[in-house]
């Protein structure tokens, strides 16, 4: 659906996006993850045809963004970082205008505006003036504007920034629904958001694509990786480490009889550990898998390379 090859964008001497390549398939939901100023917004603007690339090729739904911008624009819904609202218009007239911009007139226009308002939960708000709306509702109107033509690709730039926790929850819920039927790219600097919605994430920092993959894959790239926490009495760490299938054991501390151990293994060793404990009469108080947090992965990847 989206194919980006060696994308580069410079503002004068400053490289905002530096040789980024990725591709996103139909129906995928991908999170752009990165600190502020990493190049997320620039990349998205290039995808929507708002900005030209300095180098590289960008194809959306098979159309080159530079050569056939109209085809691309017809298929993309875009919510910029700050929702593009005319403060003097009312919600209704604004959305009707948005629908007309996408080529819907008359009854079709009204139908679509009605549906999209239902979708984002704006029913009953038609007459409100945009300038007087709260941040959460402004975001909803912005989203409605991006959805009115039911685009194949939805590009959302920081859709939850500035919202209060309940609004964030609502917005995430909404995005999850949307993700079911279309390709979605959303950018955020909040890791939890990606974790909550996106099966796949891309880590962008300093204009470069640092890592890409499913959430699990990203976690594994964290410096710590996956490990297992074991509290056991009656066993030396050496004895545990000698078990087949266990790579390495580090003692983390002693709590009475119990030794706290960090166990690393190429495959999940928990069953093996239980069996060994039963056979050898070890008393196991805790055994759990420890995943590194996305934050750890994030800091690890950005820190490692940058």
């Amino acid at each position: 659906m989206i194919d980006v090859q060696h994308l580069t964008k410079s503002y004068g001497p400053r490289l905002a996006v530096d040789d980024v390549s990725f591709s996103i398939g139909k129906g995928e939901v991908v999170g752009f993850l990165g600190p502020n100023g990493a190049g997320k917004t620039t990349t998205m603007r290039i995808l929507t045809g708002f900005l030209p690339a300095t180098g590289g090729d960008v194809k959306v739904a098979g159309f080159d963004v530079f050569d056939e911008p109209m085809q691309v624009k017809r298929r993309v819904g875009y919510l910029p970082e700050s929702p593009p609202l005319y403060p003097e218009l009312t919600v209704g007239t604004y959305l009707e205008f948005a629908a007309e911009l996408r080529g819907f007139y008359g009854k079709e226009r009204l139908k679509r505006v009605g549906r999209v308002m239902e979708q984002v939960g704006l029913v009953g708000w038609e007459g409100r003036v945009l300038g007087s709306l709260s941040k959460g509702y402004r975001q909803r109107v912005g989203l409605a504007q991006a959805l009115v033509h039911e685009p194949e690709v939805l590009i959302l730039d920081e859709p939850t920034s500035g919202l209060d926790p309940t609004q964030v929850m609502g917005m995430r819920e909404l995005m999850r629904e949307l993700a079911a039927t279309r390709t979605v790219i959303l950018s955020t600097h909040i890791l939890g958001e990606v974790e909550a919605i996106c099966p796949r994430a891309m880590l962008i920092a300093g204009g470069k694509l640092r890592a890409s993959g499913t959430i699990a894959e990203l976690r594994e790239q964290a410096p710590g990786g996956v490990w297992y926490y074991l509290e056991v009495a009656g066993a030396q760490d050496r004895e545990v480490g000698a078990l087949a299938g266990v790579q390495m054991v580090e003692p983390l501390g002693i709590d009475g009889d119990f030794a706290k151990l960090r166990v690393r293994a190429p495959a999940d060793p928990r069953e093996l550990l239980f069996r060994a404990a039963a056979a050898k009469g070890w008393r196991v108080r805790a055994l759990e898998q420890r995943l590194p947090s996305l934050e750890e992965a994030f800091i690890g990847i950005v820190g490692r390379e940058g």
């Binding site: 109209m70 910029p80 403060p87 003097e88 218009l89 948005a98 007309e100 911009l101 996408r102 080529g103």
Partner: protein, 236 residues
């Protein structure tokens, strides 16, 4: 074409739901009223000539104020992103915005129709001349809105856009007075550029093909430049 209509409708709505249009209208009618009153008391003639001549010059400074918000404001609000990522041709945005400004001007002119009524009540004005005077004012409005739109497309700051709009227009006014400054041959050569030169016939009841050409070309060139300036972000 329907996109032009969409833009036109939206811009007009934006004008008229916010106080600017009314403040503007009031200020414009006040200025026009003063000119008219002065013209009548000074000449005692049943004619709009003094008014039309002065209003045309006033518009050099007034109309850029009307158009300055167009692209500058869109950029500030971030709505330009929405317009430029929507599947609507760029020229339709430009023409739609221009048409809305021109419509607002037409409404301002309609507000001055009380003057011909006064003239008709107290005298016997030449309706043909008044008609062409208004056509001249309208032609000026078309041309100036295009130039104002262009300056708005260049600059992010509203006030700067308004100022530059006037700065673009002033030379076209002053060139008519060039005779006093430069040799005659030069003055003759640049005279076709002059606004006043092309307005004069309108105010005398005469439609001249070259005057119409001038204003149409003026408008077309600036609309085209606006289009180019917006489009340039596609390749700059």
């Amino acid at each position: 074409m329907k996109f032009v209509f969409t833009m036109w409708k939206k811009e007009l709505r934006s004008y008229f739901v916010s106080p600017i249009a009314y403040v503007f209208l009031a200020a414009y009618l006040l200025i026009a009223g003063l000119f008219f009153y002065l013209g009548v008391t000074l000449t005692g003639e049943a004619s709009l000539r003094v008014l039309a001549g002065n209003l045309a010059i006033t518009q050099i400074f007034v109309l850029p104020m009307l158009t300055m918000r167009h692209f500058a404001e869109e950029r500030r609000q971030g709505t330009l992103e929405m317009l430029l990522t929507a599947p609507i041709p760029l020229w339709a945005i430009v023409v739609g915005k221009w048409a809305a400004s021109v419509t607002l001007c037409a409404i301002m002119f309609a507000g001055t129709l009380v003057f011909p009524a006064v003239l008709a009540y107290y005298g016997d004005p030449d309706w043909g001349v008044m008609l062409t005077s208004y056509l001249g004012l309208f032609a000026v409005a078309c041309a100036f809105c295009a130039a104002g739109l262009f300056s708005s497309s260049l600059l992010d700051d509203q006030m700067a856009a308004g100022l530059i709009g006037a700065v673009i227009l002033v030379p076209f006014w002053l060139v008519g007075r060039a005779e006093a400054l430069v040799p005659d041959e030069w003055a003759d050569r640049v005279r076709p550029l002059s606004l006043l030169y092309h307005l004069d016939s309108f105010n005398r009841g005469v439609l001249d093909s070259m005057d119409i050409y001038y204003f149409v070309a003026f408008t077309a060139v600036f609309l085209f430049l606006t289009f180019r300036s917006l489009e340039s972000r596609r390749w700059r």
